[in-house]
């Protein structure tokens, strides 16, 4: 059963937001603060420019082959051998992120809330839900996603409103004390995150209004940028840049501190934000898992992606628990290795495909 579901461009936009945002607001403030300290708020801006670029490139590349996903059109562009290799690279990309997301989720839950529960419980449960939603298909995933992302974005606005009066401007000074260098260096992780928007290349065949694909992708990246700015500025403004760099999960540290004057009742409400974030993480996991499973089934030319869902899910659950021995090992991995890996695949391979498409444009248009 090929995927027969269809989604609107609004749902595609929400899909891409879910792909990028949940882990971005979690770890990026800390990663950028590590490198650029008080100027870390500039790095999303720089990254945004790059992100817009790659979002545009990916979407327009995908529109050249409106009924094919990247796994299907790469061989048309690059020939059978190279095309399949590129497909495999993307499959690896999707599954790599899947496993990282699973572990990220488990680490947050065990470190911040449930310290005596083993990681596998959280990975297992979240993956179980992801399997359920992927099994039901793209449309269901998109529908659930619409609700959850809406709530998630509202909570970010809420965060802004609450945080805004307590920002300390001195946390952002000195401005560019050490030059633009560290800032540019710190823009690498956010840029890599924004580039996750290339997933649109797997979604375009299922869009009802394909003409809006580029707009949807750009809109998604913009919304992610704004949310990330809110969270980064809020976190640095409240905690200060060195504290932010220390906490791997900086935004939760801020949420923990929210209090309402007079309503003593509302202390330590971070569990509520956690519940919402669980939903958002499920969407990210579900989205990447879906895209990965679909990609793999297309790579092997399978009739349906359903039979491989559960085996792959089990495999990844185990991998996510076993691949890193400790939280610090994983945190280091997230800070150093992950941005480089996902950045190079997303930017490198996508641009490569785009260039080839440009060069062969005359040929391909003639054939089509």
């Amino acid at each position: 059963m090929r995927e027969e579901g269809r989604i609107s461009s609004y749902q595609a936009m929400n899909f891409i937001i879910a792909i990028i945002l949940p882990t971005a607001i979690l770890v990026l403030p800390s990663l950028t603060a590590e490198r650029a300290a008080e100027n870390a708020w500039l790095s999303p801006v720089i990254a945004f420019v790059l992100g817009l670029g790659i979002a545009y490139v990916a979407a327009s590349l995908a529109l050249r082959f409106p009924d094919k996903t990247v796994i299907q059109f790469a061989p048309s562009l690059l020939g059978p051998v190279l095309g399949k290799i590129v497909g495999l690279v993307f499959i690896g990309y999707f599954f790599f992120i899947t496993i990282v997301v699973q572990r990220e989720f488990a680490e947050l839950m065990t470190n911040l809330f449930y310290d005596r529960t083993p990681n596998i419980v959280f990975v297992g449960l979240l993956t179980g839900l992801a399997v359920y939603v992927v099994y039901k298909g793209l449309e269901v995933l998109a529908r659930v996603n619409d609700i959850i992302i809406l709530l998630f974005l509202f909570s970010i606005l809420f965060f802004l409103v609450v945080v805004i009066k307590d920002l300390r401007p001195q946390a952002f000074l000195p401005f560019l004390g050490e030059g633009i260098g560290p800032v540019v260096f710190s823009a690498i992780p956010p840029a890599a995150w924004f580039a996750e928007a290339v997933v649109i290349m797997m979604l375009v065949p299922f869009l009802q209004d394909k003409g809006k694909a580029i707009k949807a992708n750009i809109a998604a990246v913009t919304i992610v940028f704004l949310s990330l700015m809110i969270i980064t500025v809020g976190t640095i403004g409240i905690l200060g840049s060195s504290e932010t760099a220390t906490f791997h999960f900086a935004s939760f540290a801020v949420v923990r501190r929210i209090e309402f004057a007079g309503l003593e009742f509302f202390q330590r409400q971070d569990a509520l934000f956690m519940a919402l974030w669980v939903g958002a993480m499920l969407m990210k996991l579900g989205a990447f898992f879906y895209v990965g499973v679909l990609a793999l089934s297309q790579w092997f030319n399978l009739r349906s992606y359903r039979p491989i869902i559960v085996p792959l899910a089990t495999f990844f659950t185990v991998l996510s628990v076993q691949s890193w021995d400790s939280f610090s090992e994983f945190a280091l991995f997230t800070g150093q290795t992950v941005p480089l890996v996902i950045g190079s695949v997303a930017y490198g391979v996508t641009l490569f495909l785009f260039v080839v498409a440009m060069l062969r444009r005359k040929e391909l248009d003639g054939k089509a």
């Binding site: 609004y10 449930y114 419980v121 659930v144 569990a271 956690m274 939903g279």
Partner: protein, 546 residues
């Protein structure tokens, strides 16, 4: 007719055809059949036929056989038979027996018309008469309350419809009463139920087709829709799903509900079942199809959405802000009935930091001396509550309410004093219980009661994360549900923002200009623009200068 009229007529006939479909129920080797009554023709000899009928039906103690002579046919012998209690015996005397015995002659009829024709046309005064050509047809007709007539020398029989329905009076709906709005509810008589609808929708476009479902019960099932508003494909789908049911019996609309759901394993009701005629009328006016089943006051309306389960016709009668407020209270109550026990246990066990210190101290002191962990307390109290609720249904009405309330209070109080449960938990259980009655649709309330338990268990074992997992699982399940093809969560998702005026809120009646988007792709206008009322330009006063 003018040529424009003939065009319109052709259009109408073609449109009607689009809705038609064979309403015969398929019988193809499904359930094991009972011994068939053969379709033998009648013999012209009256006594032979009567003997046959006596053998086949004479054992029933309500079987009545009356031999008469037809005066108008020169004293020819005939026999009238029926089952006494389902037939209006007064009608039988007045419209069948008396005319047969007293009418002196037939009216001059068609040349070549025989006795039977003469009887039908001139003598019988009953409204519905049908000819029966074989034994099975006649016996099936008599079993549904018709009167059989056999005449000597004729090889056909007549069945005359003088049914009497044993019917309850129209009364307030048991499960869905309201303050503002009509107080009539459906009864077990499908003709009466149809009448209640027809009195509300007085249009020639309202159509009520019927099928007989159930090999043995031959239950009358009505399919009601408005031609032109209901999509023909929907009507076909409903009819084909009904025709597919090859079962012995259809005793209640619940049978049909369970056997025609899009997702039989889902706890959520995918067909709306209601006792209120105004609700059914409103649904049919939106292009839905109503399924009426004889012998039950619960009528089904399809397709349906989640938002219908939380809305009541009263929302539309009480006026603008109140409908909205009440609806929001309902949503809140729905959430409470599902999540409150889970959240309570989750927070008091895993996330005590979320509560202010005084509250924690008071909870802790209240729980002093209670030997059980929270979850056991909760399960005990929930079990008691559910048991009381079920028992309350069976008790005769004078006792029922008193026992439920007093029983709950007294048992609760005693349990607290015996330190078996903590008082806060009683409050939680009571609030949850009250909130669970809030859904106007009974089946939805059942779904909530059922789902509460897994969610509570999740909350107990994994705190708020567990509750989040439960919420997400339910959300994913709901997002994939369809009711007769229409996504159950429309119009929330797939999102159609203009329709949100009638989901979480009930915005002013003048804004409800269009029919629901999930049911109509075009032709959506149902109200003129600009109907929001305003004060008039002038003031009206009697007398004064011209």
């Amino acid at each position: 007719m003018k040529s424009r009229d003939t065009d319109q007529m052709d259009n109408l006939l073609r449109y009607i055809d689009a809705y038609r479909g064979d309403t015969a129920v398929q019988r193809s080797g499904g359930s094991d059949p009972l011994p068939d009554i053969p379709q033998v023709a009648f013999s012209p000899v009256l006594d032979e036929n009567v003997g046959l009928i006596q053998t086949l039906m004479g054992d029933n103690f309500d079987f009545i056989l009356r031999r008469v002579r037809i005066r108008a046919a020169g004293g020819r012998r005939a026999a009238v038979f029926f089952l006494e209690e389902i037939v209006d015996t007064v009608e039988v005397s007045e419209t069948i027996l008396e005319p047969l015995a007293h009418f002196a002659s037939f009216e001059p009829g068609e040349p070549g018309q025989d006795v039977m024709g003469g009887i039908v046309e001139s003598i019988l005064e009953a409204a519905a008469v049908a000819e029966q050509h074989d034994l099975r047809g006649l016996l099936e007709a008599v079993s549904t309350g018709q009167v059989g007539l056999l005449v000597d020398g004729v090889d056909r029989a007549l069945s005359v419809d003088v049914r009497k329905y044993v019917r309850r009076q129209v009364d307030i709906p048991q499960t869905e009463s309201s303050v503002r709005g009509p107080q009539d509810g459906f009864t077990e008589d499908e003709y009466l139920n149809l009448a209640l609808i027809r009195q509300r929708i007085r249009s020639p476009h309202l159509v009520a087709e019927s099928l007989n479902l159930g090999r043995v019960t031959s239950t009358v099932v009505g399919v009601v829709y408005i031609r032109g508003l209901a999509a023909p494909s929907l009507v076909h789908e409903v009819k084909s799903r009904l025709r597919r049911l090859d079962v012995d019996a259809v005793l209640e609309s619940g049978y049909i509900e369970e056997l025609t759901k899009d997702d039989p394993l889902s706890p959520f009701p995918l067909l709306l079942s209601t006792e209120r005629p105004d609700r059914v009328a409103a649904g049919v006016l939106e292009g839905r199809v109503a399924i009426m089943v004889s012998n039950t006051p619960f009528v089904l309306v399809v397709p349906t959405e989640f938002t219908s389960m939380v809305s009541s016709p009263e929302d539309y009668y009480v006026g603008f802000p109140y409908g909205t407020i009440i609806r929001m209270v309902r949503y809140l109550a729905l959430g409470t009935s599902l999540f409150l026990p889970a959240v309570y246990i989750a927070i008091t066990t895993f996330h005590q930091e979320m509560l202010p210190t005084e509250l924690i101290l008071s909870i802790a002191s209240a729980r002093e001396g209670v030997p059980f962990p929270s979850i056991v307390e909760l399960l005990i109290m929930e079990f008691l509550f559910e048991a009381l609720r079920e028992a309350g249904i069976r008790l005769p009405r004078p006792f029922g309410q008193a026992v439920s309330i007093v029983g709950a209070l007294i048992i609760g109080q005693a349990a607290v004093q015996a330190s078996l449960v903590s008082p806060l938990l009683i409050i939680v259980v009571a609030v949850t219980g009250i909130a669970s009655f809030i859904s106007p649709i009974f089946s939805m309330g059942l779904a909530m009661r059922f789902l509460r338990f897994p969610i509570t268990l999740l909350g107990t074992t994994l705190g708020l994360f567990g509750v989040a997992v439960g919420v997400l699982a339910i959300l994913i399940h709901l997002a994939g549900l369809r009711s007769f093809g229409v996504p159950f969560m429309s119009p929330v998702v797939p999102a159609n923002l203009t329709d949100w005026k009638d989901t979480f809120v009930r915005w002013g009646m003048w804004t409800m200009e269009k029919r629901p988007s999930q049911l109509f792709k075009s032709g959506r206008r149902r109200m003129a623009r600009g109907l929001k009322p305003e004060p008039p330009q002038e003031r009206f006063r009697q007398g004064g200068e011209r």
